[in-house]
Symmetry: C2
Subunit: 219 residues, 2 copies
DNA sequence: GTCTATATATGGATAGAC
DNA sequence: GTCTATCCATATATAGAC
């Protein structure tokens, strides 16, 4: 009993330390990429000595892979489940909003992902070609059906999804540029402005206009 | 005379070698970022020994800065000069097309830029806050005037520009992901499909629809 | 579990022969 | 101009004391 409890406590502490390390590592990897990041920098960020850090993770590679796994869970999974029965434009703009919120609230995660993709995704290629492609194909099919049924304007579903990803992630990945171009004043409201802009943008793209702007008679 | 000619020849050879080095360096830096790139790798790509390379550029930093300068010239400068007198939608979709062509024809340049921005743009911040902001503000003003005059639908010009940048550069920076998601068959036509998609997208966004979809009476 | 010290490797840059 | 050899700094990872 005492032994089991002790073991459990150790594991909890270990998990907490690992959390701290992963958090520090995320900041470093997001900024400097895999090769540009040093264990020293991660250790400093986590308030540990280098050998101590290596007590919890046996190598830099292991930290990085742990981060990528964590990323795929908390980043990709909760993403879009478009409700085929819902209002198409509301479903899609809702997805846009959620993606933009993630760019705002988890910019480091977005940059880590961007870094890995920029490098040719050596550790994620299987995941992209397998699970990700399946999810995207499934959601693209929903969008495609909406278009066929005339509930939204005709659109290439896959490229529409790329446009949503690109426009929203831009505010995380290119944040420095966005702020530089907007200037100090407008930077403060950049995410609110981006949301208004992007929701309007995709509404206009998807709204049916069969020549007179009125909603179609079917449905 | 002979001396001058000889000196000229030497400079030409030097320039050519520097070109070869820069080309190899571009590929490496675009893929691995500044810190992730080694002089060895650049030298190998250029077919030179490491010390020989360092005869032409005195440091890795110098190669990188030369690349960034070259980038700003050939990448940013020829970009948009929207003609205020032209057709607004044609002007903007033309810009979209040119940006997409650059993503297709110069993906390494796009990724190099993306890498630098992702890292917080330590070497480009002044340029972003100065010259780039000025260009963007100028073009944004043109777009803003078009909107005021009712020649396009109301839109936030700065965020519209971000959307154009994001959607077009996506096809260079996230190429691996795009190809993975599209699959082998559709990947072959990804740039043609992207062009059709994006031109339609921005046309829909900018087209005035004052409730009946017909063009306004003014102009 | 955490530290100091260190083995080992890699990478930027230079010296100096040719 | 180009090479070999090398210096030196940095970085990963381990050994071993506490």
């Amino acid at each position: 009993m005492a032994r089991a409890s002790e073991a459990r406590k150790e594991t909890r502490i270990q998990r907490e330390k690992r959390e701290v390390i992963l958090k520090a590592a995320l900041a470093e990897f997001a900024k400097n990429g895999f090769r540009g990041t040093t264990i020293d920098a991660i250790a400093a960020g986590a308030g540990l000595s280098k050998p101590n850090l290596l007590y919890y993770f046996s190598s830099k590679e292991e930290i990085y892979r742990a981060l990528l796994c964590q990323l795929l869970d908390t980043w990709l999974e909760p993403l879009f489940r478009l409700d085929p029965e819902g209002d198409p434009i509301a479903e899609i703009t809702g997805y846009v909003r959620r993606k933009l919120e993630m760019a705002r609230d988890y910019p480091a995660e977005s940059r880590l992902f961007a870094n890995e993709i920029l490098r040719g995704a050596p550790r994620l290629k299987d995941m992209l070609e397998g699970p990700l492609k399946e999810i995207v194909d499934r959601e693209a099919a929903v969008i495609g059906r909406w278009a066929e049924e005339g509930r939204i304007a005709p659109v290439d579903p896959h490229h529409l999804i790329f446009s949503i990803w690109a426009t929203t992630q831009h505010y995380a990945d290119f944040d420095v540029q966005v702020r530089a171009v907007l200037g100090p004043d407008r930077s403060a409201t950049r995410f609110a402005d981006a949301e208004a802009h992007l929701v309007t943008l995709f509404e206009r793209v998807l709204r049916r206009t069969d020549g007179n702007g009125k909603p179609p008679e079917d449905s």
